[in-house]
């Protein structure tokens, strides 16, 4: 009897060990690909680059929303306010105080973090729909607040950011004519930094606590995960990230008007992008950002642009039926049949209560997609 041919074709799905050379190669390859794409994007004409920049800015904002809604399960309809706070922080500091716009990003991040913490406080007592409605109030109140203080914000007339402050510095070698490239690269860098931050945050213990809060809130409390800390902290970081996106937006747009850019519509757009891209994924927000900028662009010709809402509305509904985990979720589900990354066997210290909770949860409710199954998880 002949021995079976052990050099047969590999069966799908391919198993790749985490940390193995193959895995590392794939990661580096992916990174190189992204950088190449970024460079490719910058070569397009000014209009296209502008569109792309907007998409990346929105992607950053959506990444922020993802933290609080996707990972932690708290629906926020108020992120337009954080976006606006970041934008106006940059706008005001640059125009009134002559700050370097890039430094204002840090201030915007910090300020929005604090505001986010404050907004997160009601989340301790209020949950689910009630909390969503409270964030709705935030989105509605923000443009009104801006209009109330015209001395600071330009009120209903809007704020024009001094152009000279926004120009690319000499060392970039980008001239005034091509300043759109400068803004593009800023949005790329900010998005990259934000994604790294989010990826790290959601991978560690914090990420576990976030997901535990989303999926098994009462059980999480019973085990002792400090829910208060997680909810408030997540709101803070989420607001900070979206706020910084607003700052870049201020640079890109150069003139701010709360009634046109920072209304509830923006919040809904962000949610739409989040859902299209896929909640609780790192790449999802990028897809979402691209979607919410390009889809309206493509439908602009149809019926004088009135159809944008109809498209988005129908897309959202269809997505919930067939693809609740968004495009990224679909991609993951498809690629699982082809390639699978096997996590390292744990050799570290005894798992914490949180990790045990999540592990037990996964055994009791087999959930290979890691989606969770109650309350605010999407599917």
């Amino acid at each position: 009897m002949t021995a079976p041919d052990t050099r047969a074709l590999p069966t799908l799905p391919l198993q790749i060990n985490q940390g193995s050379p193959t895995h590392r190669f794939l990661q580096v390859f992916g990174l190189v690909l992204l950088v190449a794409l970024a460079f490719l994007g910058s070569r397009a004409n000014s209009f296209q680059v502008g569109l792309l920049t907007q998409a990346l800015i929105y992607a950053t904002a959506i990444a922020g929303l993802n933290l609080v809604t996707g990972y932690t399960g708290m629906l926020s309809i108020g992120h337009s306010a954080f976006f606006g706070i970041g934008a106006y922080t940059t706008g005001i500091l640059v125009t009134e105080r002559n700050w370097n716009p890039l430094t204002t990003f840090i201030v915007a991040f910090a300020l929005c973090f604090i505001v986010g913490l404050i907004v997160g406080l009601p989340a301790l007592r209020i949950r689910g729909i009630n909390l969503a409605l409270v964030t709705l109030a935030l989105a509605v109140a923000f443009p009104e607040l801006i209009d109330r203080f015209p001395g600071l914000t330009g009120g209903t007339l809007g704020l024009n950011v001094t152009l000279t402050s926004l120009l690319p510095p000499h060392w970039t070698g980008i001239g005034v004519q091509n300043r759109f490239e400068y803004y593009y690269w800023i949005s790329v860098v900010v998005l990259a930094l934000v994604l790294v931050l989010c990826a790290n945050l959601t991978r560690g213990r914090t990420g576990l606590a976030m997901r535990a809060t989303r999926d098994r809130e009462t059980a999480a409390t019973a085990v002792g995960i400090n829910l208060a800390w997680i909810k408030v902290f997540t709101f803070g970081v989420s607001a900070a990230v979206t706020g910084v996106a607003g700052s870049v937006f201020a640079m890109y747009l150069g003139s701010l008007s709360a009634d046109s850019s920072f209304t509830l519509t923006l919040s809904i757009t962000l949610i739409t992008g989040l859902v299209i891209g896929g909640v609780a994924t790192v790449i999802g927000p990028i897809i979402g950002g691209l979607a919410v900028i390009y889809i309206p662009h493509w439908t602009e010709g149809i019926h004088q642009g009135e159809t944008e809402g109809l498209f988005f509305g129908v897309i959202l509904i269809i997505l919930m039926f067939v693809m609740p985990d968004g495009l990224m979720g679909l991609t993951k589900r498809l690629t699982r049949h082809v390639v699978r990354i096997k996590p390292r066997a744990p050799t570290g210290p005894r798992p914490s209560d949180e990790e045990l909770l999540v592990a037990h949860d996964q055994i009791a409710h087999p959930d290979p997609e890691g989606k969770g199954d109650t309350t605010l998880a999407l599917s």
């Binding site: 809402g309 998880a377 999407l378």
Partner: protein, 298 residues
């Protein structure tokens, strides 16, 4: 005194609309466990239908009936087709579907009827002289008619809930859906009815509200109303129909008095203030003024 009364009358009218819509929101919440974000847009859509019919010289009463019927169908179909399959997935998914419906309906209004603002005919005599004098203030027939009609509708709903078999079955379904099913209640039909009634109430509210100011039928009309109604529902307690009505009236009156007397507040900051006030109430009493506490078992 006269000024106070005029503010009061306006407040009661707005409050009645908030109350009606808040009641609709609470009905859906009790049955299905979610807020119908698209409630305002459904009401707007049916108001447009009514308006469209009036431009074809259909008598206004008939327009009202047709639009209300259309609303009922819209609500029931939404429940059956959009909500029922999705709600078993998660709350967030349901909210997003409703958000999608909100966007789609609003856009559809613009596509079907254009983006200008229109003036809606009123059910009641609506000339400049159509008022009665009360304490020196003008009480317009349109307002009085609105109060009465809303009172009739709300009264009818309460009669339905508390004194009919159907109402009992609706309350049972809201209390414990599985047990209702196990008792022989056709839960699906009950849910559709709940949504249908809600949308019908919304339709009437829209048709009552719009004629009160000229040029007010536009794609952005219902949105602020929805926010106020949601605020009222939250304040009253999302599972309390009575609370919704009381809170709605309160909100309308307080809002009118505040914006009348305190000129710092004006425009839409009222909405924000209303919400902030409600946030504070919720922090102290998360179940709202009249809602019941939920005990969650681990």
């Amino acid at each position: 005194m006269q000024l106070f009364l005029e503010y009061l009358f306006d407040g009661i009218s707005n409050g009645a609309i908030y109350a009606a819509l808040a009641l609709a929101l609470v009905m859906v919440f009790r049955g299905t466990g979610t807020i119908n974000f698209a409630q305002g847009e459904m009401a707007l859509f049916t108001t447009y239908i009514a308006w469209g019919l009036t431009t074809k010289n259909v008598p206004i009463i008939l327009c009202l009936l047709i639009a209300t019927g259309a609303g009922f169908v819209l609500g029931a179909v939404t429940e059956r087709v959009l909500i029922r399959p999705i709600e078993r997935k998660s709350l967030l998914a349901t909210l997003i579907v409703l958000l999608g419906l909100f966007l789609a309906l609003n856009s559809l209004d613009g596509i079907l009827w254009g983006n200008e603002n229109y003036t809606m005919a009123s059910l009641f005599p609506n000339k400049v002289s159509s008022f009665v004098s009360v304490g020196g203030a003008r009480l317009y027939w349109a307002n009085l008619g609105l109060w009465i009609l809303v009172a009739v509708i709300v009264g009818a709903m309460f009669q339905l809930f508390n004194h009919t078999r159907l109402g009992l079955h609706m309350r049972a379904t809201a209390s414990n859906r599985e047990s209702a099913s196990l008792s022989g209640i056709a839960v699906g039909r009950i849910l559709m009815l709940g949504w249908g009634f809600s949308a019908a109430i919304g339709a009437v509210a829209g048709i009552l509200l719009t004629p009160l100011s000229p040029d007010s039928l536009g794609v952005g009309e219902m949105f602020p109303i929805l926010i106020q109604a949601s605020a009222a529902a939250l304040l009253g307690g999302l599972d309390s129909p009575g609370g919704a009505v009381i809170a709605g009236l309160m909100l309308g009156v307080v809002e009118a008095l505040l914006s009348g007397y305190v000129s710092v507040i004006g425009g839409q900051l009222e909405e924000a203030i209303a919400f902030v006030a409600i946030v504070l109430v919720l922090l102290v009493r998360p179940q709202g003024l009249f809602g019941s506490k939920e005990v969650e078992r681990v």
